[in-house]
Each structure stands twice: as C-alpha cells, then as structure tokens.
C-alpha cells in the first residue's frame, strides 16, 4: 500500500468515526479526501505511462460532492483518442487501488465523444454527466465533456423531459412514499433525494422551477441526506431504506429526542419534496401534452376545468361556501386530476372552521370524496398540505405523519386512515350505507393521535366528530361502533372457535345489527389491506368470511344452533343390520334405516313419548337409506336407552299406537304443567321459501311450543310424501323456531302455489291444535 493510500484509508476512517461531523459536512470531507487520493493515483499513472491527455471526472453523487460512507465512487476516465495499451495500463493503475480497498467503483474509460454518444441515448448516463466534476488531469477534456453534455441535454429537452418524467413515475411507484412508509426509501422514494435531483435536471433542460416550488426544498434535501449518511454509518453498509432497526441509532446521531421525532422530520421533508415534485411534473406534463388532451370546461358557476386541472373561480371563494374545497376535491378526484395550485392557495387563505353541525350537502361531499377511491389520495394530501383538510377534521394534525412501531404496519397513521377509507370505497357495494363505511374507515384509528388506548379514545373522539359532521343519532352510534369493534372480527375469526355457539353469540351480541356487521366486515378488509401485506391473505379472508356468514344468519333471525358447523352425517352403512341401526346415548339418538316418508316423525314421536326434548335434529338420505340424528335433553330423568331403542324399533315397524300414546301423554303432561299461560302464547306462522336453498324448499315454522311438536309437524310433512332433508329445531323459551328442508319424492322443490298452500294449512293445523285435543276432535 502506498503512503498516499494508507493516508487516505486513515483519513476516511477518521471522518466516518467522527460523530460530530454529520450530513453534508461529512459528505464534503469524504469527497475532498477521495479527490486528493485519486489525484495522486492519476498523476502517478500519467507519469508512469506517459499518457498526458487523461482526465478523471466524478459523476453522479460523487460529482455533486455527496459521498456517503457507503456510496459507490462513480468516475469516468477520459482519454483523447485511441485506446492504446498504455491508456489501458494507466486506467488499471487508477482502478486497482480502489478495488483493493474494497470500495465500490462505477468506472468507465472513454473519450469525450463516446461519452457524449452514450449520453445521447441513455437517460442515466445523460443525467450522471450533468453533475460531472473535474478531479484531476487534463482539465480541458473535462470542460469539453461538461459543456457538451449540457448542450446535448438542453438541445433535446422535450425528449429528455418525457423520459425523465416516466422514470420518475416508475421509480416512485416501486419505492413508495417517504412521508407515509414506516421504512422509507430516502433516495428513491416519492419525496426522496432523487426527486430533488430530477427537478434540477428538468430545470436544466427547460427552466421550470419557480420561487414557490423551491421553498423549503434545500432544507428538506439536507435532512434526508443527513439521515442517509447516518444510516450508512450505523448499518456499516450502503442502503437507502431507513429500516426500523436503524432508526434509533440514526435519531441519536442526529440529536433527535427519539426515533419518532426523527421520522416525523423525515416525513415533513418527504412531504415538502413530493409536493414540489408533483406540482412541477404536473406542469411539465401539461406543457408537453396540452393538459393531457382534456378540454377546458365549466362544471358549475364555482368550478371549472382549465388545462386539465380543477380551478375554483375567484368569485366563488369570496363567498367561502363551507363545502367549496370539498366540491373542488370531489371534482378533482372524479376526473383523476388535481386542484390548481393557485386555487389551493386561495382556498387555504379563505378557509375557516366549518359551521357545526355540517350541512347535509357538506357531509355528502365529504363522503363522495372518499368514495371516489384511490384518485382521492393525492387530492386529500393536497388539501392537507395547504392546511384545508384540518378545517374539516381539527383532530387530523394529531395523526399527521405519525409513525407506528410494529411489524405489521407499513404506513404512518394518517396515510393508513386515508388508505383504509379509499380501500373501503371499493367495498361500498357490500353495505347499505357507503357514507358511514368510508367515514368510519377514515376515523377508525384517529385515537392513535392521542394518549390512552386508541380504541377507547377513538370512540369518544368519533362521537364528537360525528355529531359535528351532522350525522343523526343512529348514524353516530354506528360510527362509534365501527371504531369500538374495528378489531373484533379479525380477532374473533382467528382466535376463537367458530364451531362454538358461544363465539357466534358473543360476536352477534357485540355487533348488534346486520348493517353494522357488514360495515365491520368491509372495514376489516380495508383496514387490513391498508395495514400491510401480512395483515390480509386468502387465509384470513376465509376465516373472517366464515365468521361473518354465521353471525349474519344469526342477526337475520336464525338460531345459533343452526349456524355452528353441523356434524357430518352418520355413515349410511346397514351392513350386518339388514333392517335398521339404532343408537341411543345420553345426548344423541341416531337412526339409520331404509328411507321412507314418516321415519323421522315416528322417531320424533317416540322421543316425545319418553319425555325427551329435541334440541337439534338433522335428517339425511342417500341411495334409499335414510338417517336421522336427534340431539336430546332428558332433563332430570334417567334415560332408559334400551327402552327408547325398543320403542323406536316398534314404531318403525308400525307396531306402536304412536298417535294415541302421544295424545295420552300430552293430556297427562298438560294437567301437570303448563309451559306458559294461555293467551301469552305467540302466534304460529309458516313461511315457505324457495330462494334460501339451491336444492330444497325451506319451510320455516314459528309457533308456541307444545308436547310432541316435532312429531306432529314432521308427520304432517310425511302426509304429503315430502322428503325431509334437514330439520333444524330450536326451542326459544315458550316458542319453537324450526326450519325444514324438504323436496318432493322426485327430489324437486315445491313450486306449485296450491301445493304450498295445502302444506301451510296442514302445518298450521298441526302446530295450533293441541295434542291433547286431537283424539276428541276426531
């Protein structure tokens, strides 16, 4: 190692180790040390090979004197003619020491002519040469290159601007936002260092930057550059993404109180840059494409489309209608364009707190803006950047650019809320009140801006906010419920047993109404998608969907017993039991036998005879074999399983006077206990539904409970030769709510209205006439 090289190594290490030097100062020290060392290398190479006409030129970030500890050294070695062996040897003498030190080198050996030719076709080379800087050697060559590159750049301004615009858009799309990502890309992100560089390149092609654009840009650039320097320093390597694990060290090095303070500064810098960058590129596009081909037009007396942008007429602003900014925003989002910058300034100057409670029209515009979906995002950002948004939501500054430290989240709180709201807009079709959905989504995490549990704080805040927005009481309650329960569905779906009736009951109880269930279901999906890639997956969607389905049916009036996962059908196997298989246990009776109408009702009759209450019953049939399963409750009695099985066998073979015995027992029972006073009994109702099931007619029976009700209802169905597919039986206090899935003998639904009317008549008779009266009525 030469003296110069070891001196450079020491100096470089000292600069990087000196914690008192940060940001641009460090970059400049590194650049100066590197320049000095490379100059020595080049001079030695020139004298050693006799090649005098050589120049070493720094390009890119090194050209701008912005070397960070992990940056590549991007250099071009210029020569003046043929690539002789001695020129090649001179180049090696410059490159090898750099490689030997383990520094990353972006190198090229070219003439001015070939450099310019390459820069004529390649955007990256062209922009790299715009920051070309002489390091050592023949300065005339460097000057020739710099002048040529600048001439070429302005000479083909229109072409380069178009290419640059496309590359800016592509880069931003990949890297995401500096302000809103919890792990921002300081260089490539939207609002990152590269955006400022691109603006200066664009301005070099065609002067486009105004005083207004440049306000704050320098400060923002320095803030990001300083963070990048410390990121390289603390991680010990190159990299542009400010990872969570590095944020504490970077914050300490830059004197921030904590990582949150650092990230808030970074977010502000990113916002300043992205705002200027977007504004300038929009103007460039407008000048290149003539407003993207849109024609100027008047939308109404307040708002016009001019050069493809939304402009608010100055006269309209004077009257400062409270919804004017929203009206302009809705127009911009709907047309997927932006609000003109001057209009924004005027709106900001005229903005005042919206009168409380909001007028219905203001509330509608607010919802419409969110319902416009993704195009609303840049518009809302523009309103917020100009301080207009907080006139509608005074609580917003508390969440603005607020970082959240956990592995799931990808965005700052404010952007997460906006993402959730526009994501929810895409699900508006699944709810009956899209306005509540998007407003609830926008506010669901607003509590994160304040101390305390974010859900509890959020509920109080949203109640105040919703009242201020002029929502009626019921809507306010729905919005508060959305905040309160925004984690209920994902938590219950993944952590509770969906086959347990208690889970379904608890969720149904918490949610309360079908409207809220659908609002919460849509919010869950939008919230998860806005959180990050790990928070939503087909797996999670499937689980949440199962829960929502079950809770939905319960809220619509079904019983919990119906919706928890039904047990699988018994095995239809009669091998070794040619006639039937009867199993009776303490809680369950299963009967498998040759299938014919009436089997189910006969078993139900025997169970009634033995005083056994049926909780849930199901019937299946397959290939001429039928199976029924009854979940039973014997109450305080001891179950004589053998006698029950014997009686079932007798009944199935038609050897039991079932009807008479049931009536007898009913008389006996009714004299001893009346389940409810006469007159309080609910009315019976029968509903026949052919839409509910794809394969069967569903008959819903709501009636007062009575002895042997299941026996009488199913016997009535058997009289019609109906095939009973499933019977879902539930007793709710003094009433029953049964659902029978039936088909005719051919397996078809019961579609004939006369047939339906007869069935209804028979069932109504069966459930209103009392069993103990039947013998006398005959």
């Amino acid at each position: 190692m030469t003296d110069a090289t070891s001196a450079f190594t020491k100096e470089r290490a000292a600069v990087i180790a000196d914690a008192t030097v940060t940001g641009r100062a460090l970059c400049q020290s590194l650049t100066a040390a590197t320049d000095a060392w490379l100059s020595v290398q080049l001079d030695a190479a020139r004298s050693g090979t006799g090649c005098e006409r050589l120049a070493l030129v720094a390009v890119g970030g090194y050209g701008r004197r912005e070397l960070c500890p992990g940056s590549d050294l991007d250099v071009v070695l210029l020569h003046d003619g043929k690539l002789t062996e001695s020129v090649a040897r001179a180049a090696e003498q410059v490159w090898y020491p750099v490689w030997d030190l383990g520094l990353k080198l972006g190198h090229a050996l070219r003439t001015v002519k070939t450099s310019l030719a390459l820069a004529g076709t390649d955007l990256q080379t062209a922009t790299g040469l715009l920051s070309a800087r002489h390091i050592a050697g023949d300065e005339d060559l460097t000057t020739e290159l710099r002048d040529g590159a600048a001439r070429q750049w302005t000479g083909r301004a229109a072409r380069w601007l178009g290419a640059l615009e496309r590359s800016v858009e592509a880069r931003q799309a990949v890297a995401g936002d500096v302000s809103f990502l919890l792990e921002p890309n300081l260089k490539e992100g939207h609002g990152g260092l590269r955006d400022v560089q691109a603006l200066s390149w664009a301005d070099a092609a065609r002067p486009i930057l105004t005083q207004l654009d440049q306000g704050g840009l320098d400060g923002a650039y320095e803030a990001l550059l300083a963070a990048r320097v410390e990121l390289h320093r603390s991680s010990g390597r190159a990299g542009d993404v400010l990872l969570l694990q590095e944020q504490d060290a970077v914050a300490r090095a830059l004197g921030d109180v904590d990582a949150d303070a650092l990230m808030a500064r970074i977010a502000r810098a990113g916002r300043t840059i992205s705002w200027s960058s977007d504004e300038v590129w929009r103007r460039v596009r407008a000048s290149m494409h003539g407003g993207r081909g849109r024609r100027d037009r008047v939308l109404n007396e307040r708002i016009v489309v001019l050069d493809g942008e939304i402009q608010v007429r100055p006269g309209a602003i004077d009257s400062s209608a409270p919804g004017l900014a929203l009206e302009a925003a809705v127009a911009a989002a709907t047309l997927e364009t932006s609000i003109n910058q001057q209009s924004l300034h005027r709106l900001a100057a005229a903005a005042t707190q919206v009168e409380e409670p909001w007028a219905g029209s203001v509330r509608q515009l607010f919802a419409d803006l969110l319902l416009a979906g993704r195009p609303a995002i840049p518009v809302i950002e523009a309103l917020d950047q100009h301080g207009v948004w907080e006139h509608y939501l005074p609580e917003w500054p508390a969440v603005r650019c607020k970082p959240q430290r956990n592995a799931y989240h990808r965005f700052t709180v404010d952007r997460h809320l906006v993402e959730a709201a526009v994501g929810a807009a895409a699900l508006a079709g699944s709810v009956d009140r899209p306005d509540l959905l998007v407003v609830g989504a926008l506010l669901h995490d607003i509590g994160k801006g304040f101390p305390g549990d974010h859900t509890e704080v959020g509920c109080d805040l949203v109640r105040t906010m919703a009242v201020r927005m002029g929502f009626v009481d019921g809507d306010v309650d729905d919005l508060v419920a959305m905040v309160e329960h925004h984690l209920l569905l994902p938590d219950a779906a993944s952590r509770r047993d969906l086959a347990d009736p208690a889970t379904i009951t608890a969720v149904a109880h918490a949610v309360g109404t079908t409207r809220r269930l659908h609002l919460l279901a849509a919010l869950t999906e939008a919230d998860s998608l806005a959180t990050g890639p790990a928070a939503w997956s087909p797996w999670k969607a499937n689980l949440v969907g199962l829960l929502v389905g079950k809770v939905g049916w319960v809220l619509a009036g079904a019983t919990v017993g119906e919706v928890v996962q039904p047990d699988p059908p018994p095995v239809f196997d009669l091998t070794g039991a040619p006639e039937e298989r009867i199993e009776v246990s303490e809680h369950e009776v299963t009967v498998v036998c040759l299938d014919h109408p009436g089997t189910f009702s006969r078993v139900a009759g025997v169970l009634a005879l033995h005083g056994l209450d049926v909780r849930v019953a199901q019937a299946w049939s397959d290939g001429g074999v039928g199976a029924s399963r009854f979940q039973i409750d014997a109450g305080p009695r001891t179950l004589d399983a053998e006698r029950v099985a014997d009686d079932i066998r007798l009944a199935l073979h038609g050897r039991l006077a079932l009807e008479a015995r049931v009536a007898e027992r009913a008389v006996e029972q009714s004299s001893r206990r009346r389940r409810f006073p006469v007159g309080v009994a609910p009315c019976a109702s029968i509903t026949i539904d052919n839409e509910a099931s794809q394969t069967a007619t569903v008959i819903d029976v709501h009636a007062p409970d009575a002895i042997a009700m299941l026996y009488r209802l199913t016997r009535a169905l058997a009289d019609f030769d109906l095939d009973l597919r499933t019977a879902l039986v539930q007793t709710l206090g003094p009433a029953i709510a049964d659902a029978f899935y039936v088909t005719d003998r051919a397996g078809a639904k019961i579609l004939d209205p006369i047939h339906q009317a007869e069935i209804e008549k028979a069932l109504l008779f069966a459930c209103t006439s009392r069993a103990d009266e039947q013998p006398r009525s005959k």
Partner: protein, 112 residues
C-alpha cells in the same frame, strides 16, 4: 431425529405454542394453510343460504425433535389442540436425515 408436523385449528395455535414451550420445545415453524380433510368440501346449510366451503383455514406447525422427545410432543399437541369436534386436525412424524444450524454449523441433535 424426527420432523413433527401438525395441522390444527387456528384458534388453538396459541394454546399449543404455550403448551409446547412448557414442554421444553425450543423452536416451532408456523404457517397459515388451507385445505380439507374429512371436514370439508362440504356444504354448510344455514337458514336462508347454502354455501360451499372449499378449503378450511388451518395452522401448520413444524417441530424438529430428537427421537426421545417425539411422544411427549405429540401428547402435548393433542392435549392442547383437542376440541373433540370434527376438524381438530392431524399430526404426523417423518424421519429427518440431518439438521444443520446455519449460524454455528452445528450438526445433528445439537442443531435442534
């Protein structure tokens, strides 16, 4: 050495994790999976609608264990994951030829 793979109900994942930790298991790989066994491909009938559940969400656990630990681990998982209802899942054990801890290069039982 053996690889123990268990498919369990999602809501049981935490219980099983705690139980396995208590039983001295040092590492578990957890994956969210979907599939069907005897439980699914079925049509659930609710009042008002039928719909087909194509795949049922489950959680897959993978645990590397020394031969002597296998029985305990299986019992631990079974006890913690059992609800007695259909869909409780399965456990299977496969032989493992070798295991290497990447950080240290340790091989075999030391790497578990």
């Amino acid at each position: 050495m053996k690889l123990i793979t268990a498919i369990i109900k999602p809501f049981k994942a935490d219980d099983v994790k705690v139980a396995l930790k208590g039983a001295g298991v040092r590492g578990i790989t957890v994956t969210e999976v979907q599939g069907f066994g005897r439980q699914a491909g079925h049509t659930e009938v609710y009042r008002g609608a039928e719909y087909t559940v194509d795949y049922v969400p489950k959680v897959r656990l993978e645990i590397l264990a020394d031969d002597g630990e296998v029985e305990t681990i299986i019992t631990t998982i079974t006890d913690a994951a059992q609800t007695g209802k259909i869909g409780d899942g399965k456990i299977w054990v496969t032989a493992v030829e070798s295991v290497v801890r990447i950080r240290t290069g340790e091989v075999g039982a030391d790497a578990i």
